[in-house]
């Protein structure tokens, strides 16, 4: 790099970070925090503002529920953000995989292993729950494999066709779901072990005495576990290095002799499987499923991937938490505006940072 380019580079760097000019006072530190860690800044803002409008006990319950919802949405959204980031494939049929997972899980719970999920002991319940989640994962993954081969493969690199073909594929999948499981909604009773709530002991100030629903805690734990696992795979393993490199510059990875199509296929299948897992979790959360549930969740998923920045797992995680929280807070204050608030959050973030919170690829 020549000296001239270096000075130009420095200049543009300075222009991009005007808060550096403020010096080292608290205001400057706040501005730096806002610009460099926008996800944490927004999360803090999101959690603090409602605290003035809602009493602390309710706030704590809402926050936990919001985290639970965020965790489930994260499961569904993570696959789509990677697919988009890695191969530039916009898969609008992602919602259909969510529905598919929900129906597959529900089949195991309510038909095949009905006796186990009705029992009240945790261990017996687990005999039904784990296969249900596993089956949802497997079915969605397998169909994802077929879907990639049959529907998406011929239209790489053409966004318009991808949108058209995946919308068509989504119609076909949803119709097939209705062929197999019938057009009516299906009730999915939550297994007994997951019902009920923990009561926080009164000794703890502020949040003492509140009831935390078990299922929501489990959803949060599962979401964190998957997030942890994904971060580990992406950050620490060889496959992860290749995925990150592929998101950054696909051709360069190909030049080095790696078969990025195979890698992408793996990511797509994993993403579909995770969508299925999220769908199954959502089925047990809502306790009723319809074929079109995926379409409704798809909106949250889209908001999440735009919020987080394409291709970024971390951004996706924070985006999902933000969407979950705003849904619950606004849903409590004014239930009719929950969906509008979610979309409003997206529009606001786009105005502030068009790239999303933690962009990985250059848009």
């Amino acid at each position: 790099m020549s000296a001239l380019e270096k000075t130009l580079d420095n200049k543009s760097a300075r222009r991009e970070r005007p808060w550096k000019a403020l010096g080292k006072g608290p205001r400057a530190r706040f501005a730096a925090f806002r610009e460099e860690k926008p996800h944490l800044f927004l999360l803090a803002l999101m959690m603090l503002v409602p605290l003035f409008m809602i009493n602390p006990t309710t706030w704590a319950v809402l926050t936990i529920s919001g985290l639970a919802m965020g965790a489930m949405v994260f499961l569904m959204a993570s696959g789509m953000t990677l697919t988009f980031g890695l191969m530039n494939v916009l898969n609008l049929a992602h919602g259909a995989f969510i529905s598919l997972g929900a129906f597959a899980g529900a089949t195991v719970l309510t038909v095949w292993l009905n006796g186990y999920s009705g029992d009240s002991s945790l261990l017996v319940n687990l005999v039904a729950i784990l296969p249900a989640l596993g089956f949802a994962l497997a079915v969605a993954g397998l169909v994802g494999l077929l879907f990639e081969r049959l529907v998406i493969k011929p239209v790489y690199g053409d966004h318009l066709k991808q949108i058209l073909v995946t919308v068509g594929g989504s119609i076909i999948l949803l119709e097939l779901i209705q062929v197999i499981w019938g057009p009516n909604e299906i009730p999915v009773p939550r297994p007994d072990a997951l019902r009920g709530a923990f009561i926080v002991s009164d000794a703890i100030p502020l949040i003492g005495g509140i009831a935390l629903e078990k299922y929501r805690l489990i959803a949060v734990l599962l979401g964190l576990a998957v997030y942890g696992l994904m971060t580990w795979v992406i950050d620490r393993t060889r496959v992860g290095v290749l995925i990150r490199a592929g998101v950054e510059d696909r051709e360069m990875v190909e030049v080095h002799g790696y078969r990025i199509r195979l890698l992408f296929l793996g990511v797509f299948v994993a993403g579909s499987a995770l969508a299925g897992l999220g769908g199954a979790m959502w089925a047990m959360y809502r306790e009723i499923i319809t074929a079109h549930m995926g379409d409704e969740l798809m909106i949250s998923v889209i908001v999440v991937i735009i919020l987080g920045g394409l291709g970024s797992i971390k951004g996706c995680f924070y985006g999902a938490i933000l969407v979950g929280l705003i849904n619950l807070y606004v849903g409590f204050l004014e239930p009719r505006l929950a969906a509008v608030a979610t979309v409003g959050l997206m529009v606001g973030v786009l105005m502030w940072r068009p790239q999303g919170l933690i962009p990985v690829i250059k848009v």
């Binding site: 916009l90 529907v151 011929p154 239209v155 966004h159 318009l160 066709k161 949108i163 058209l164 073909v165 919308v167 068509g168 594929g169 119609i171 076909i172 119709e175 097939l176 209705q178 062929v179 197999i180 057009p183 379409d295 798809m298 909106i299 889209i302 908001v303 991937i305 735009i306 239930p335 009719r336 505006l337 929950a338 969906a339 509008v340 979610t342 979309v343 409003g344 997206m346 529009v347 786009l350 105005m351 068009p354 848009v363």
Partner: protein
Amino acid sequence: MLNAIFSGDTPRSRPLTAILLVILVCLALGPFLFDGTRAFSTLGMICVFIVVVASYDLMLGYTHIVSFAHTMFFGIGAYGMAIATDAMGNNFTAILVGLAGAIALSVVLSLLLGLLSLRVKAIFFALVTLAVAFAFLSLATQLYNITGGEDGLRVRVPRELGPAFRPFDGELRGFSIVTFLSGLFTEPGNLGEVLRESVFKVRFSGRELMYYVAFVVSLLVFLFLLRMVNSPFGRVLQAIRENEFRAQALGYRTVFYRTAAVIVSAVLATLAGVMFALINRYVNPENTLDFQLMVFILLMCVIGGMGTLYGSVVGVALFLLAQNYLQDLLRLFAAQVPEGGVMAELVAPDRWLLWFGVLFVLSVYFFPTGIVGQLRIWSQRRKPAA
């Protein structure tokens, strides 16, 4: 003369011209050629959706902007009309107020969407519009004291457009094509009887009047769009579609053109929504704002042929006929298949959309230019050195 009306963009294919002529005649003489309310409402919907899909094609086919908010603008028109007549009574002032209010709201919203999309990559526009349209749908469903929620609103049309109004005193007669054709096949020897049976009485009321208003509006909008896409403005849109960067380099402010296309298309969709409310006289979230309707619009546009306005006419006619009559056909199939199996489920009349979805995906792969594009390619091949 003819060239001037079509803005120099003629069908350029004999079969296509024939199909379009059939559609035109069927629509123009509709109430006199088809008996029964089902056929009548199908005809009305074809007129309305030609406007919807043709204006969608301006974005999708001519500029390659994928928007999922088209039903939102359609719904704004329909709800605007319903709310205005609800509040001001069934007179023509209410219609004017509803139309003006709905169009104003659409212009503002589409301008905002256009400006928002400037800040993000083109592909984001699809996602952003999808989310915004969903928020609008949920708002319309939730604010039931204004919109009637899931139950929707009845539209109180002026007496002149309702079934009680009789513009003519004399009795009119129509000739039912369906009866005639089926008679021709079943009892060809008895031609006189068949001819006599085919004649039916037409009760020309305000509803038929409204149908003709919609027909004329949709014809005018179609010709207007044809003029538009063949004007310098339309050429710039197509240049943006082919290579946005290059269009920019040539000195066109592509952002301005893209936003203008979005706004024009939104206004026309609103107009179609207004007509829909007046013809259907009942609006609810499902028949105006639903995501499924958006997918239908996309299907009609692509199957007919993106980037050819004639394609939207063909696509609309084909899709709405399929929607209304493919179920009957599948019922015939279903009668042949033994009950209870997976096969029976696959051809159940309710699953017509499955077959349309398969058709859609296959047509994107094998006929990416749609019916009209393919017809044009074939007739191009027939006369290579023309």
